[in-house]
Assembly symmetry: C2
Amino acid sequence: MAKDNGDGLAAIAGRIGVVGSVVLNVATLAIYLRGRFLLSAAAAAEKQASKKVKKAAAVAPSSGKPPVLPDSVIVLDHGDPTMFETFWRGPIGESATLVIPAWQTMSYFSDVGNLCWFLEPSFEREVRRLHRIVGNATTEGYHVLVGTGSSQLFQAALYALAPPTSDAPISVVSPTPFYSMYPFMTDFLNSGLYRWAGDANAFDGNDYIEVVCSPNNPDGGIHEAVLKSKSGKTIYDLAYYWPQYTPITHMLAHDIMLFTVSKCTGHAGTRIGWALVKDKEVAQKMNKFMELNTIGVSKDAQLRAAKILEAVVDGYERQPTTTAAVGGDANLLFHYARRKMTSRWRTLRDAVAASDIFSLPEEVAGFCTFTKDTAIANPAFAWLRCEKQEVEDLESFLRENKIITRGGTKFGAGRKVVRISMVDTDEAFGIFVDRLATMK
Amino acid sequence: MAKDNGDGLAAIAGRIGVVGSVVLNVATLAIYLRGRFLLSAAAAAEKQASKKVKKAAAVAPSSGKPPVLPDSVIVLDHGDPTMFETFWRGPIGESATLVIPAWQTMSYFSDVGNLCWFLEPSFEREVRRLHRIVGNATTEGYHVLVGTGSSQLFQAALYALAPPTSDAPISVVSPTPFYSMYPFMTDFLNSGLYRWAGDANAFDGNDYIEVVCSPNNPDGGIHEAVLKSKSGKTIYDLAYYWPQYTPITHMLAHDIMLFTVSKCTGHAGTRIGWALVKDKEVAQKMNKFMELNTIGVSKDAQLRAAKILEAVVDGYERQPTTTAAVGGDANLLFHYARRKMTSRWRTLRDAVAASDIFSLPEEVAGFCTFTKDTAIANPAFAWLRCEKQEVEDLESFLRENKIITRGGTKFGAGRKVVRISMVDTDEAFGIFVDRLATMK
């Protein structure tokens, strides 16, 4: 039965793969989850009950993906940072509840004196406080811009850096393996301003925009730009440059640096990212993109993010880093999340050792200027390789075992490697590693 | 002194006009407002005090544009719907306060079973309830999509309707005068998929996307599509099809209909729009745009909008429309806002009559199926024309009188006409009409 079911699911997934979204394969996710509910009467009853509760509370919020059970399909295709929810349900969460009266922030404008006129001053302040305390990027002399997630700011940066009048679109490159969204976000509108040109290491020319993701999505590598032309431009995507994922080794000061609350605090649903931009003209042009694309960014979302970041920084101001070992980490986001990530990576490496058909990037460590100790890197994704000769397509192989991952080809790499989210719920992660350990 | 100052401001505005943003001339706004504060010691002190308050309350929200004084520059360039704030400070506002715990809606996903997987179910429900009660558009059999304002959904619709593989971009047209943002939103990325082609009435061909804005921004006209080719596509921008702006005469059922909370309830800062889409494939493609552009839409913003729309509909369910005359309109958004708009339009027409150098579109009335009475249309913008021969550029003429408007050329019309927001604060509107009445 289990085998039949597994084959059936794999067949469905194969068919869907042809027509579905490459970027966020939600159709697959939905069908799998529906399939799962058909199998599980208990879960179906639970869903029914939850529906009733939702109906009673009129504007009840969604609760994300449904919970998983031991026989569930485990979806680790997206970096959905639900791991952090437990932290925010803890004591610190109480100070980060957002309350917005009906009449508040109705205007398009937040601060007409600011270059980024839709930027909530409190959000900007908390961003600067956060960087000061973590020491991962300098904000002194930088413009802060806000975006609907850092994806929008990535596109804003392409718009700002591309020459406005040119015969041919400028080439956008990133070293493989690169984040699977970059090519799609660059090319989906078939812009005459910029065009995806693939692997930065294979690029030949002086005019380009290089995207440097560090720590790198998907493989966690720490990178500098690989191209060094005077007329070339660089965007640093620093979504994962936070202490839970990597030791903080440098206070970075690049021309354009992108961050997002999704991966910093786990609030992906809030869709708030920010950019630190050195040059005023570039900042103005990025801002222009935001005006034309969405006439600014939701103030409710900005206030939510401000409240969350404030709680993070306040947590550290109240309890110095050095006392984390004694006082616990229930109020120290980065300590809590690093501990969780370290434990997950240990569990994953044990499972990989038990199975003996997989390999992972080597563990790296460094001195972290934030926690003032030597720490290992715990990437947000596992870049898992299959060493078994018969397995040519690892994504399909894992799918047959009801584990949904993102195949290497989407990152400019091969089919024997996949990207797996390490930031999902404890339940999903636990089932995933248990299954992985038994694969032969 | 007043004259000198006026000339100085006009000169600055002239210089800025060359380099500034055509779309949201915020640089001008900022300089004017800064100028105003320099002139007004009282206002400066007030700002200082407000800064202190803000510092105390850490994540205090912004308060939009600074308040105006009798000698202020009045900025009516944008349709910033701050008029509605008074309503939401009233009794109904109490039921629409939004509370979001720190751990809530952290996932990217809202409903994995929905085509629009990032759509909060409560927001969708309130949208459908609202249309049912107002009767302005049918939702039966339609997909509801959410966007970061309706601007994003406009771009999503272009993406969805443009042929993906074609030698030349498809033409995007709208009858003049058209909303000044359409050309910029269509062309700013120099997309190979679609290209702005101007006035729909001047268009010759069978393949196009026609944008129909009704009631029309800027002039309030009620429109149907002017082009009628079988292969042509149409987007209905219905941002202003609400009872405060126009009598509701038909339950519309077009293929793609766009709405926004900005103009419906006044919550522009929340940046939430929605689309009603008949065809599933078109809805899927629009959704794909939202995934690639911003990986969905902020859940905090959606929950805010859901809460606001819920309060609007609840207000009407508790107090039937027919009792508005007796029970007052403090809980009836559309009645309140129609009363305000009617009063403003009367005041404006009086001022225009007093001045004798301007003209406005003729007043139109119709039977409103929502309020079940005959009502006049009260457009969100005044499309003001100057009949004085010497005034060739009305935007400049008004700017000399410290009234900032948007000139007709940006809408594909002439320089003797401007668009003026009718939905700003009572204070700004009052100063504006007082000044207008005395112009000769």
